[in-house]
């Protein structure tokens, strides 16, 4: 297959402060009406001296078209999913975000809604939330959903909070002080539990890539508050003993929270209910097709079994058969994990995505995501220097964590080098594979959104780079050549004397005396 003669835009664009020209204006603010100025004066005189800003903020002054151009250029320096075969950010489920859904969310009927409006004026918005709740119940088998958490991590925090509130309500809040997770579960499963004051117990995997059940049996005790676990884990291996894991934790008195941030391979195939979970969540910006937005705004749809409904964050949306309403009176509620009702545009887009696909379409999306993934698995295994650790001969669900270990040993070309070279072909191969248990890792997750031809093109680039690594490793190590910038000097990023998190800080540290 012929590889694309790609070159990313390279505008050599200034940092925005360098575009400053004193006196230019980007947008004007209308002055208040004369009659108002006449009535109240300049407004500022009403403030005590101590509250008045003495020197204006040193924001740049730039005309409107130049601001627009600057950000359009930066946008061209960004490789959104709409532009590439975005399968190299494995675990992130970067799929197609239908444009119609964005158009619907841009309506003033969404954008100009205020969360405190009278319920009679937001019946449409509440209906969308309620109906999406019903859909999520079907998909998970659980009984009630809240869309308040604004990300997967926030949903994990909410699950850890409900675990805490549950045990507190039963007088075991103090004694149950441990949360169990697995090493291949998302880092936030460990981190958000620690935020709540829990001691985190991490179960490692055995040689088959699955969590060690014997270690789990030893880990549970009267101190166990709960379990937070991802399945399939980042390896893409479905854990067939997931119900045994929940049984062990429940028998010890713990609650079980399912991290289904990415459920893209299992829609309609297997559910939180059958696996014995008390809680779960789905990232709408992963599985349900809402845009990632460079990292949010987003939504972690949080579901629980009936017994835990009273612990959900408030308010919930209720429907009495005639009208929709916000319900605040939950006896054991953890309170809130975000202001208002979460990121409504994300809920709306997920609703539209589900309505476009229906039950059969959801299954088809999952099936094709799994088909694509296993197709890639077959092909990657034939690329020199690449391998798929764990579970040899087994199929995977929605993604695979691969390794360049062999290639690195043989050529000294690392996974980072490959990632940077992939940029030359217009692809991502991202570098986040925590924990770094698999040596020289890379993770591919094709989702259902890319055609076979596109997948083949991505694979051709991987194959090409492998050939280069074996024939001309320096070429790979010098990449990227056709991306926006050349290799970045990382030496300042961990040095407090040199790091510069803002432009003003950069100027202070680098241009003293100028």
């Amino acid at each position: 297959m012929k590889l694309r003669a790609f070159h990313q835009a390279k505008w050599d664009e200034e940092v925005i402060f360098e575009l400053h020209t004193k006196g230019e204006r980007g947008i004007l603010v209308s002055p208040v009406e004369n009659a108002i100025a006449y009535e109240v004066g300049d407004g500022i005189s009403a403030l005590p001296e101590s509250l008045r800003r003495k020197t204006p903020p040193a924001l740049p002054e730039i005309s409107q078209m130049r601001v627009l151009k600057h950000y359009l250029r930066l946008s061209q320096h960004t490789l959104g999913a709409d532009l590439n075969v975005d399968i190299g950010q494995g675990t992130c489920t970067v799929k197609y975000n239908p444009k119609i859904n964005d158009a619907l969310a841009a309506s003033p009927k969404v954008a100009e809604l205020h969360p405190f409006q009278d319920e009679s004026t937001v019946q449409g918005a509440l209906e969308i939330i309620h109906r999406t709740d019903l859909f999520m119940r079907e998909i998970s088998g659980l009984d009630r959903f809240s869309f308040q958490p604004a990300s997967g991590s926030a949903a994990i925090l909410a699950m850890a909070s409900m675990i805490q509130a549950w045990h507190e309500s039963r007088g075991e809040g103090k004694t149950r002080d441990e949360v169990i997770t697995t090493i291949f579960s998302h880092p936030s499963d460990a981190a958000a539990a620690a935020v709540k004051g829990y001691k985190v117990v991490t179960i490692h995997q055995t040689e088959d890539g699955l969590p060690d059940l014997e270690a789990l049996k030893l880990a549970v005790s009267e101190r166990t508050a709960g379990l937070l676990i991802t399945n399939p884990e980042d390896t893409g291996i479905f854990n067939p003993k997931i119900d045994e894991i929940t049984r062990i934790v429940r028998a010890a008195g713990g609650l079980c929270g399912y991290d289904q941030a990415n459920a893209n391979g299992i829609l309609g195939v297997t559910r939180a209910r059958e696996a014995g979970f008390d809680m779960c969540f789905f990232n709408l910006h992963k599985t349900f097709g809402t845009p990632h937005g460079c990292g949010g705004p987003a939504c972690g749809a949080l579901g629980v079994v009936r017994e835990l409904t009273d612990y959900l964050p408030v308010p919930l949306v209720d429907f009495d058969g005639e009208k929709y309403m916000l319900r605040h009176d939950l006896k054991h509620t953890i309170g809130k994990v975000r202001s208002f009702y979460g990121v409504f545009p994300a809920i709306l887009k997920a609703y539209a995505w589900i309505m476009s696909l229906g039950e059969r379409g959801l299954r088809e999306a999952a099936n094709v995501a799994v088909l694509n993934n296993n197709y890639i698995l077959e092909k990657v295994k034939t690329i020199r220097g690449a391998s798929a650790p764990f579970a040899p001969g087994r199929h995977r669900i929605e993604q695979v964590r691969y390794s360049w270990e062999k290639m690195t040993k043989e050529t000294a070309v690392t996974t980072e080098d490959v990632a940077l070279r992939m940029a030359d072909f217009g692809f991502h191969l991202w570098s986040s594979h925590h924990p770094f248990i698999v040596p020289e890792p890379f993770t591919i997750e094709p989702t259902e959104s890319y055609s076979k031809a596109e997948i083949d093109e991505y694979l051709a680039a991987l194959r090409k780079i492998s050939e280069e690594a074996y024939e001309d490793p320096a070429k790979v190590k010098g990449a990227p050549y056709r991306s926006v910038v050349h290799r970045i000097d990382h030496s300042s990023f961990d040095d407090p004397a040199k790091w510069a998190i803002t432009w003003r800080s950069y100027l202070k540290k680098n241009r003293k005396g100028i």
Partner: protein, 465 residues
């Protein structure tokens, strides 16, 4: 599934049966179901998800969703005076143009090469906010002000190795609920009373409640109730004198005219960027910022991504990347600082665009405009019989409390009557603040004209008659 007609959907290219067959052959299996072999039968869901018939045509989908949304009556179709953490401000067209770009909208977490623009735009957001706040470090946005305040307090706890925070009791109710949940099990939040006349913090109560366990004092400026805390310097001094930190929440849109908290002693500043070019979105437009001085001990306590600027191998090129990445939970899981992940990056980029458009002059003019408009609104409303406005004797910005107790009518009744006249009245404060039954929080910004305010006053006069 073989007896069903093929389901080819525009979002799923490889749903074409021939392509599917070819891929299955190459994998060496006969059906997709075989690929699920690892999922044991007892875990397989063999039922049907009870979902509505899909609207696979885009035209039908659009009609259906618009039909539901048509039951909303937005602030664009009424005259709204609602605020309270989500505010109506003018959104420049360029802000929408940028945040609706495919490149930004559908990007996620690429490397600082092919996603160079994402890194630069967020670095610039940090930098522009830093000028507004007059501080040297700002994070890549977190979820909202609630989360920013929660993290700010937890940062203070770690920095001082203390486990209590004093929080003024006029703090926004959502904020307080999020902070309480976020701190539960690790830190205590202790309320500090406000002065019933000025609304400002009761410094005597602060002095009494400050102990050797106090990590931070938290207040908001302007407060949730719109008035300014004028004793910021004094509060910061009291906190510092006893080894605590001063954490201040602020509305960034006020800072063209109002002194930023760093000027009166704040150590950690937080707030929401929704006012800066993001639509209200039913409360979905929030994004939180946290800001500090550029001291290692502060920087190392951030859970957030912090994007920094650097050189590249090519002279004259700007590169960007993660500063002190190893403090994050990505790297070290539960040993990291709280947690980090997807939050509100697109709104951060948008807020950067907004500040670049507004410049220092625009921010000053806007701040002044809002001061004048809200003062005018108070003046008009205060003339109504039985109405007290503002409830607190302090200068205010954008929002103010109107006390209707002297009118003999409840806020709920007044708002119902206003609704009938096409007006969304102020937020009823009775539920959230014990002492403010019969009071409402009104919000007036640059989107309101003199006519709008006069209409409100006239409608209130009718309603209260």
């Amino acid at each position: 599934m073989s007896d069903e007609k093929p389901f080819v959907h525009p979002y799923i290219p490889n749903s074409v049966p021939e392509v599917k067959e070819q891929m299955l052959r190459e994998i060496g299996v006969r059906s997709v179901d075989e690929l699920y072999r690892d999922i044991p039968e007892r875990l397989r869901f063999r039922g049907r998800m009870n979902l509505p018939e899909p609207l696979t045509s885009e035209a039908a989908l659009k009609r259906h969703v618009e039909g539901i949304l048509g039951r909303n009556r937005s602030c664009a179709e009424a005259l709204s005076f609602l605020g309270g953490g989500c505010w109506p401000h003018y959104v420049p067209a360029v802000c929408d143009e940028i945040n609706r770009r495919s490149e930004f909208l559908t990007a996620y977490a690429g490397e600082p090469y092919e996603d160079h623009g994402r890194f630069q735009a967020l670095f610039e957001y940090e930098s522009l906010m830093a000028e507004l706040l007059d501080m040297d470090v700002v994070n890549v946005p977190t979820f909202d002000w609630c989360q920013a305040a929660s993290t700010a307090v937890r940062m203070a706890g770690r920095l001082t190795k203390r486990d209590e925070a004093l929080v003024v009791d006029t703090t926004g109710p959502d904020r307080l609920l999020v902070m309480k949940n976020y701190c539960r099990g690790v830190m205590n939040l202790v309320p500090v009373r406000h002065d019933p006349v000025t609304g400002g913090m009761d410094l005597e109560d602060l002095a009494v409640k400050f102990t050797e366990r106090t990590a931070a004092v938290y207040f908001e400026n302007p407060s949730y109730l719109g008035f300014f805390e004028t004793q910021g310097q004094r509060i910061a001094e009291m906190a510092h004198a006893r080894g605590g930190l001063c954490v201040v929440g602020v509305d960034p849109i006020s800072l063209g005219v109002i002194a930023p908290p760093s000027h009166y002693g704040a150590d950690i500043v937080c707030g929401d960027i929704q006012p800066l070019g993001v639509h209200m979105n039913f409360g979905g437009g929030q994004g939180g910022f946290i800001s500090t001085r550029d001291e290692e001990r502060f920087v190392m306590e951030y859970p957030s991504r912090l994007f920094g600027i650097a050189k590249t191998a090519f002279e004259g090129e700007w590169g960007f990347g993660d500063v002190a990445y190893d403090r994050t939970s990505f790297g070290v899981r539960e040993k990291g600082k709280e947690f980090v992940g997807t939050a509100a990056a697109l709104w951060g980029i948008t807020a950067g665009v907004y500040l670049a458009l507004m410049g220092p002059q625009g921010m000053r003019e806007l701040g002044q405009h809002i001061l004048q408009k809200s003062q005018y609104a108070v003046k008009r409303i205060a003339t109504l019989s039985g109405v007290k406005a503002p409830r607190f004797k302090s200068p205010y910005f954008k929002e103010f409390v109107v006390d209707f107790t002297g009118t003999g009518k409840s806020v709920a009744d007044i708002n119902q009557a206003l609704l009938g006249r096409g007006i969304f009245g102020g937020r009823d404060l009775g539920r959230d603040f014990l002492g403010l039954a019969g009071c409402a929080l009104f919000c007036v910004t640059e989107v309101h004209t003199k006519n709008d305010i006069d209409s409100l006053a006239a409608a209130l006069e009718e309603v209260l008659r």
